[in-house]
């Protein structure tokens, strides 16, 4: 079974540019989560998509946005990049079973560097 795949692995941009990161969930998973892991700041929740809709959003400015496609893959867009956006962006997918437990399976991440 293929895991969660993310692309690109690395991305280098300059301030003010836009970045697009992509994520394909595990087959059968309908939820996709995005987290930002900046140096020394742990994992910060960004966005949650389920069945094509945004279900929840973390404490990030509107220039962080995304979408989920009919095949449940997802895209994270970061506009007007700032230096502090440099981080590892992790995507995770899940299938919320009847127990309600939310077991996340993570991808390897996309490392965004803003110069």
């Amino acid at each position: 079974e293929a895991g969660v795949t993310q692309s690109p692995t690395h991305l280098i941009k300059t301030r003010g540019q836009q970045a697009t990161l992509r994520c394909s969930p595990i087959s059968g998973h309908t939820s996709v989560y995005w987290y930002q892991q900046a140096l020394g700041l742990g994992l910060q929740f960004l966005l949650w998509y389920d069945e094509g809709e945004e279900r929840n959003r973390g404490n990030f400015p509107p220039r962080f946005s995304g979408r989920q496609f009919p095949n449940y893959s997802s895209e994270l867009n970061v506009n007007a990049l700032e230096l502090e956006d440099s981080a590892l962006y992790l995507c995770a997918s899940s299938f919320t079973g009847s127990s309600g437990a939310n077991v996340l399976t993570f991808g390897a991440g996309s490392r965004l560097t803003v110069l």
């Binding site: 987290y35 742990g42 929740f45 949650w48 279900r55 995770a92 127990s99 309600g100 996340l104 993570f106």
Partner: protein, 115 residues
């Protein structure tokens, strides 16, 4: 508000020694508890989870954790560590809130196993 606190940011330990990584959480609702591990330059991998039932949970690589409801803790233990256990460990809680299911991560504990 819900939160997860990992009490130690770094834990150095000698090979074959026992280790305990501490995690406390605060929540007014029932939660599901998880430990994830992140090896260098990789995404997060599930170590173990507590959903219900026995409070002692066994995971992969010889790790185990005990859920203590009265102390709102979920400490991770291993009786004898290996060099290969060097990684960052994240405690997480999953809970149902107004926006749906949400997973909150602690800041992480870096385990460094020395020869």
């Amino acid at each position: 508000a819900q939160s997860v606190t990992q009490l130690d940011s770094q834990v150095p330990v000698f090979e074959e020694a026992p280790v305990e990584l501490r995690c406390n959480y605060s929540s007014s609702v029932s939660v599901y508890l998880f430990w994830y591990v992140q090896y260098p330059n990789q995404g997060l991998q599930l170590l173990l989870k507590y959903l219900s039932g026995s409070t002692l949970v066994k995971g992969i690589n010889g790790f185990e954790a005990e859920f203590n409801k009265s102390q709102t803790s979920f400490h991770l233990r291993k009786p004898s560590v290996h060099i290969s256990d060097t990684a960052e460990y994240f405690c997480a809680v999953s809970l149902l809130n107004t926006g749906g299911f949400k997973t909150i991560f602690g800041a992480g504990t870096r385990l460094f196993v020395k020869a």
